[in-house]
Amino acid sequence: MPIAYIDGQPLEFRSDERLNGIEAARRLGIEIPHYCWHPGLSVVGSCRMCLVETGMRDPQTGKVAMLPKLVPACNTPVRDGTVIITQSEKVARARAMVEEDLLLRHPIDCPICDKAGECLLQDFHFRYGQKERRADLRPFTSRRRDLGDHITLFVDRCILCSRCVRFVREVAGTSELLLVNRGTHQEIAVLPEFPLNNKLSGNVVDLCPVGALGDKRFLYQQRVWYLKPHPGICTRCATGCSTWIEENQDRVYRIRPRENLAVNRWWICNDGRYDYPHLHDPRRLVQALRREGGSWQEVNSGGLVGELGERFRHCGRIGVALSPFLAVEEAYLLAQWARGLDPEALLVLGPVPVVGQDERFPGGFVISAEKCPNRRGVEEVIAHSMHRVPAFEEAVQAAEQGQLGGVWVSGGYRHEWIDAGTAERLARAPLVVVHDLFPSPLSERATFVLPGAAFAERDGTYVNRNDHLQSVRWAIRPPAGVLIEGRLFWELLGRPGLYQAEAVLRELAGQIAYFRPVGQRPIPETGFNLKVYLLAEAGQGCQQV
């Protein structure tokens, strides 16, 4: 294996790996500060923050020949025998110089800057900067202009790393951003009539190493050091991007992409980024209700589980619509419960919302037309019991024809998902339970309306359109009164102890072939692809035969 030496430490790497100095150093836990380089963008080498000393070690003699000048680590391919020094006086001076240069015309308005606390310029200044200001004192300047519906630019804070410009050219492919003027007069700009409104535009705010690009929804809402990030999964579409859900006291203020090379790389779309307001929508269902005659009666949660169990035990044939917004564990428990009461229970896949076509971007990012996170996982749970995946319409027809004594419909939809006609047909069943986030035509006609938890409030596992499985834990607590899906189903099943998604996942992995790989290995933060392991297993099977 080739070996490189970084600050004297040897680093072994595979010969087919293409690492630059920054990536190689990171593997040894050595930070090489940088602004313009980003793993998902082309290399320009212009910020000059990552300057290091490099050389080659002669494999025979062991002698190291160093280059006399500094080179940017971002454009230094690491090969066998590459020597990189990041801790020399020369490197420290170069870093201090770049830091000082970047602060010459920077407004240093950290107290009113949204980026303060997670700003690279700020962090690197404390780690690598000069101790004193040597340049002339300048008046504070703060020019701001909007680049698009979501993005605003604080012109004077920009350090001209050009990450955002490269992003809209290389990943979004829309090229709205450009640099105008030259030298220190250079600025990020958009052309008139062509604002930055592409569906990935929010990513430029995350990419910006300083507070130049601001997210108008997040602007001045919260100091970043109060935010607690939790790993999450976007449930807006079947792509299933990894996210950071950032909350303070159970209120989500921001959703940002979490690096996951197999799914979303470093990006998320604006739909997913701005998918948190519905969590705190005042119209959300927060009280379990029972219809009595023409009026609604509040049900206190103490007796609810027993009452539901009783009613479904005696209702006749049960139909259950498993929403594609349910996690795998939740779907499994609900299916177990229904099948336990009625071995012939009809399990159907809830309505799968599809809007338009898949949107593909030049950088490989895909926004799926299928606007739900877990169709694949729920399908496999249903198929395990039913040996097929009946559509929602089948349950509607059965209810309309009076074949179903009780219907349980799980929701989780953000938008209108059922029309009045369908709801009417479904409500022919004598017992209808709706477990959902928002009131709907069906909840108006239901026997029981149960408030459900939203995506950030639940533990669970999701499988995306490409069979990539990811597990997350809850990020915030739901509003009081909400009946969290997994916990409710656990109690309905009458199982002892507390609901733990992990244990349920292991249990179902033992039963459902599709999920078998889950039981055999820990799930990494970024998840893994079930298809890959299943194919590998199948391959081994063939070889053994």
Binding site: S46, K69, D101, A135, L137, L160, L179, N181, R182, T184
Partner: protein
């Protein structure tokens, strides 16, 4: 200014017969007929008939021709970096974006002998197997644009360009790409980006253009004068070429020597500014005395820029520095550069030179690399403050630090523009630090020793940056005041006639205060600025 010198009786150094400028000054020298009448394109005819591309390359390599654009990289070596069996296309770019202050030799060649350059272009394309050549022409050369385009058209008509040149299998198309007035487009990868239609941000190397250049294909970028030399190397042979100039320094195996004819551009405080031809290695004194006819008004030399502004300055005690590729380096300058010699006489304040130099490079920095973008601007701000009489001695240390830390030599930038900005600062501080210190002490007697940060010149307390800006600002203020007064008077229901009477322009003329007196120095433009326009 460039034309003046050679047309009014050129004083050549004895025993030197001009080669590159041989046709310049003849009537209609820019036409094909005139060029062919003096033997033009015979070399091309012979080479295409008798020599293989590899032989041409070899002859150029053997001549030790070094690029005339500034860096002095051996041309044959550059060509040999092209991948040997590349399926093509390979591109040749002719760098005619001559923007170095004090340099106008390409202009003379392009305006008065474009066919010589074209013949060199065709020969070089033949040697490098390029089938398309782009001439990147500086925007500010409209006459050159017209004449080169006409020369290209003449060549196409005469079968010297296009398909199957002179009946041989070799084909070449030549296009002019006109720049838009940016210095950075003369950097080879900036030039390539510009031809591709993008912002002329120099590319990070590697990959070098010979491997991945224009449109991501192998590319050679050569200066106009370099290509003109190629014609004569092939006409008279590499040995003739090596008989002119300075041989390699003994013992230095890496030195290819400084051979061949060179165009020296003389400007500044000199009696006969102009473009002159001589062998490489003339001393600064020879060039000033014999070509330039001495310093104007019989004054002494204070400083000399040896090769275009970015090479820095030589002191008055360094006039015997030979202008070959090593001489200026040994004397503490960046290099020979373009051999654009700018002379400053003893009366010229060095702070003006420094200011002009800093302003040029801050203005022309493309803004890509942080140290160059911010460093050149910081230097300019300090020099402007010094010039306005509010300098500190500490500023000179900071200037020296900037001068020593930006550029490709320390490795802090992508291209050499920052080196060009650094060298004038560094060399001025080396030779004229006493003068600058005296200037600071005398103009800022209360504040010269301050070492704490001071308000920037354009800060809230600092006042406007220059006398002109002060005048502008005063005029704007006056105008605003008038408008305000007008509005107030209108609000006070004064008759409309009165409001018309106090028309802003007349009011400014009456009320506008005179610009404050300048800081005791005549704001005469520095030579760099005069010549940057060619």
């Amino acid at each position: 200014m460039g034309q003046g010198g050679f047309s009014e009786g050129v004083t050549h150094v004895p025993q030197y017969e001009p080669v590159l400028l041989a046709n310049v000054g003849k009537p209609e020298s820019h036409t094909l007929a005139a060029y062919q009448a003096s033997g033009g394109y015979t070399t091309l005819r012979r080479v295409l008939r008798e020599m293989a591309p590899a032989a041409v390359l070899n002859e150029v390599r053997r001549s030790n021709l070094r690029g005339r654009g500034g860096a002095g990289f051996p041309t044959g070596l550059k060509w040999s970096f092209l991948p040997a069996d590349h399926p093509g296309p390979i591109y040749l770019c002719v760098n005619a974006d001559e923007s170095e202050p004090g340099t106008f030799s390409n202009r003379v060649l392009l305006e008065h002998d474009p066919h010589q350059v074209l013949e060199g272009t065709i020969l070089s394309a033949y040697a490098t197997r390029a089938r398309v050549a782009y001439i990147y022409l500086r925007y500010e050369y409209p006459l050159a644009m017209e004449r080169v385009q006409r020369a290209i058209d003449e060549c196409y008509a005469a079968g010297l360009l296009g398909q199957n040149i002179l009946g041989t299998p070799f084909s070449l198309d030549v296009y002019i790409h006109r720049g838009a007035g940016a210095y950075i487009c003369g950097e080879e990868t900036g030039l390539i980006e510009s031809i591709e239609g993008r912002r002329a941000w120099p590319r990070i190397k590697p990959p070098f253009p010979a491997v991945e250049g224009l449109f991501r294909k192998p590319t050679v970028v050569n200066n106009v004068e370099t290509l003109a030399c190629v014609v004569h190397i092939l006409q008279r042979g590499a040995d003739w070429f090596r008989s002119i100039g300075v041989p390699p320094a003994p013992g230095d195996l890496g030195d290819p020597g400084s051979f061949g004819p060179k165009l020296y551009c003389l400007s500044g405080h000199i009696n006969r500014p102009g473009c002159y031809e001589g062998p490489l290695g003339l001393t600064v004194r020879q060039v000033i005395e014999e070509f330039g006819g001495g310093v104007r008004h019989g004054r002494k030399v204070k400083a000399v820029v040896p090769g275009g502004l970015s090479t820095g300055v030589l002191g008055p005690d360094q006039l015997d520095t030979p202008l070959d590729f090593n001489g200026p380096v040994r004397a503490g300058c960046l290099g020979l550069g373009t051999a654009g010699v700018i002379v400053l006489d003893e009366t010229y304040p060095i702070v003006e030179f420094l200011y002009n130099s800093c302003r040029f490079f801050a203005h022309e920095s493309c803004g890509q690399c942080t140290p160059c973008r911010e460093g050149t601007r910081w230097a300019l701000d300090m020099v402007r403050r010094i010039r306005a009489g509010r300098g500190r001695l500490r500023d000179l240390d900071l200037l020296a630090e900037i001068g020593n830390s930006i550029g490709i030599i320390p490795g802090t930038t992508i291209c050499g523009l920052a080196d060009g900005a650094a060298w004038p600062i560094k060399t001025v501080l080396t030779h004229f630090r006493d003068e600058l210190e005296a200037y600071i002490r005398s103009t800022n007697p209360t504040g010269y020793a301050v070492s704490e940060p001071v308000p920037a010149l354009d800060g809230p307390d600092g006042g406007p940056a220059t006398p002109e800006a002060a005048g502008r600002k005063a005029a704007v203020c006056a105008q605003t005041d008038v408008l305000r007064a007008e509005m107030t008077s209108a609000a006070l229901a004064s008759p409309a006639k009165e409001a018309q009477a106090s028309h802003p322009s007349t009011a400014v003329a009456q009320n506008g205060p005179a610009p404050p007196a300048s800081s005791g120095l005549a704001a005469s433009p520095a030579p760099g600025r005069e010549t940057s326009g060619g």
